[in-house]
Symmetry: C2
Subunit: 330 residues, 2 copies
């Protein structure tokens, strides 16, 4: 049997795991509930249980190269420590990599989910063929991964690559959960889109909008999916919100172009599903916010390719540090 | 005789050159006028002439490892091309590295001045002992160098590492020479400091300030040196301008901390001479503009060490790509 990597994606409600080949093919996958509310011991137990099942499915430990785990931050990938993820109550400075290595006698690595997803796109997804890539995922937050020479850039404490928390509006009244005023997550992620739509509709009480219908009249219920639906049906307010989101992302990515001059920018996450109107606005805005404007036209700005199992692929990716063996797949 | 590197710093008024040992000691230096106004042929001739003299001083070509040249951007270090520096009229897409290699039969490399200065600080200056460093020089512009694993980060087209052109104020009315609205160069470099001081004094006609005296009553003549002098003598407007500069730099460096989580930040250039009041404000501001706030307190934020000959050291540095042979010096 070919060598396999166990990729584990730890979320607040479920833990997804899979067996991934060195060529980037997912051959088996399994899901168990996290039982996060029952605290560390239970949720850690679920992870161990899932890995045990995957080791069996792999035909035993000898067929497994290692265990890659991705989880939401904050975490320290260099030390394999999960610091205190908001969605895993009771987890505090858990040496997850060591715990699993001691239990399974297999190498284990822990990685931040956006970093892992970025690497997975480079190894198996939209960025195959590129080495220096800026990866973005826009959903309830803005996560990024800086991939340099096909490796995740970590920084001194393992907390680098957090481009979602770079401010483009130092005067902004919007403070991100991270504490930064006006970082791109505070302006452009799903909740910020919903807030902007609500405010736009509150400012003009009489303005008709499909968003009033879709939210059942309760503007607090507006979400990015409604905005996308309304925009597709021609709603002006929804189209404006998407345009503004593209503008914010473009102004911010202009700065990333000045800093990284990457081979490609990959954009994933739920908000990226909006597609062409969003990507067009990003591309149109970037040249006004970078010294490297003359290279924007030829810069590939691509939608992410890995969707459903991006967490499993991402977790597995960290076990292909050079990425040399990997090819396009998924 | 020990092996030497020729380091050449091409400026608009003079070309400075020196012989630098592999340990980072400057053993000889020479300066010639650029004669930039006489066009490419003359100014290129001055560079060749200076290198010829340095080769002789080195005791012949056999003692020279290579020729490193730093110049203001835009340039492409990967291809060794100087694109079109504003202060070198007539230079347009000049293959400077190839020209010198063909003439001298020695390896030659061209580098952007801020990148080179950053590398020099890592190899010979304030950042000796660190591998991942964010270098900033604040003077008439804001130049930066991203040093990763003791190497300059270049990006795909050789134009990465331009952190001075990341916007922290997308709504700003101030457009940088690079075209970006509200990039840190447009807000915090010397000319922006002078502009802010002038506006502050125009807004309050009756407010006394040493800056009125120092500028001889012509507020357009205010420069960063006057602001620093006035602040030292307790002038309130001048102190406010410095404080605001530190705030802008801190908000921006907070974003750089989120992205790079560097081992150290080095700040050079004329504006950095302001010293403690500026550095204190930067350190005080950064935590409010980064997700990595818990690591700011222990982050070294150091003044640059190389002053007078930073261009020569920078140019020579690009010939020590690994930096392994270099030690503290200068």
């Amino acid at each position: 049997m070919a060598k396999l990597i166990i990729g584990i994606d730890v979320g607040g409600t479920k833990v997804a795991g899979g067996l991934v080949t060195l060529k980037g093919q997912l051959v088996k996958s399994q899901v168990v509930p996290t039982h996060a509310d029952k605290g560390f011991k239970t949720s850690y137990g679920q992870i161990e249980y899932l890995i045990e099942r995957l080791v069996k499915l792999a035909g035993g430990k000898d067929n497994v190269v290692g265990i890659g785990i991705c989880a939401p931050g904050p975490l320290n990938p260099k030390a394999g420590i999960v610091i205190n993820p908001p969605n895993l109550p009771g987890w505090r400075n858990i040496r997850l990599a060591s715990l699993l290595e001691n239990h399974f006698h297999l190498p284990a690595k822990v990685e931040n989910d956006a970093n892992a997803a970025g690497l997975a796109e480079v190894l198996f997804g939209a960025a195959v063929g590129y080495r220096d890539v800026f990866y973005v995922t826009v959903s309830t937050g803005v996560g990024t991964g800086v991939i340099i020479n096909k490796k995740i850039y970590h920084g001194k404490n393992g907390v680098g690559g957090e481009g979602g928390h770079v401010s483009i509006d130092f005067r902004s009244p919007y403070r991100c959960g991270c504490g930064t005023l006006g970082c791109i997550e505070a302006l452009a992620a799903g909740p910020a889109m919903a807030r902007r739509a609500r405010v736009a509709l509150e400012q003009e009480h009489n303005k008709p909008s499909l968003l009033r219908e879709l939210s059942g009249g309760d503007l607090r219920k507006i979400d990015p999916v409604m905005i996308q639906q309304a925009a597709r049906r021609g709603d002006e307010v929804a189209k404006f919100i998407i345009d503004e989101t593209g503008f914010f992302l473009g102004a911010w990515l202009g700065g990333m172009m000045s800093l990284f001059d990457p081979e490609a920018i990959i954009i994933g996450g739920g908000v990226a599903q909006i597609g062409k109107p969003l990507f067009d606005k990003i591309r149109q805005t970037m040249p006004s916010y970078t010294i490297n404007r003359r290279f924007v036209a030829e810069l590939p700005i691509l939608p992410a390719k890995l969707q459903k199992n991006v967490g499993i692929f991402g977790a597995a990716s960290v076990f292909l540090p050079s990425g040399e063996e990997a090819g396009a797949a998924a």
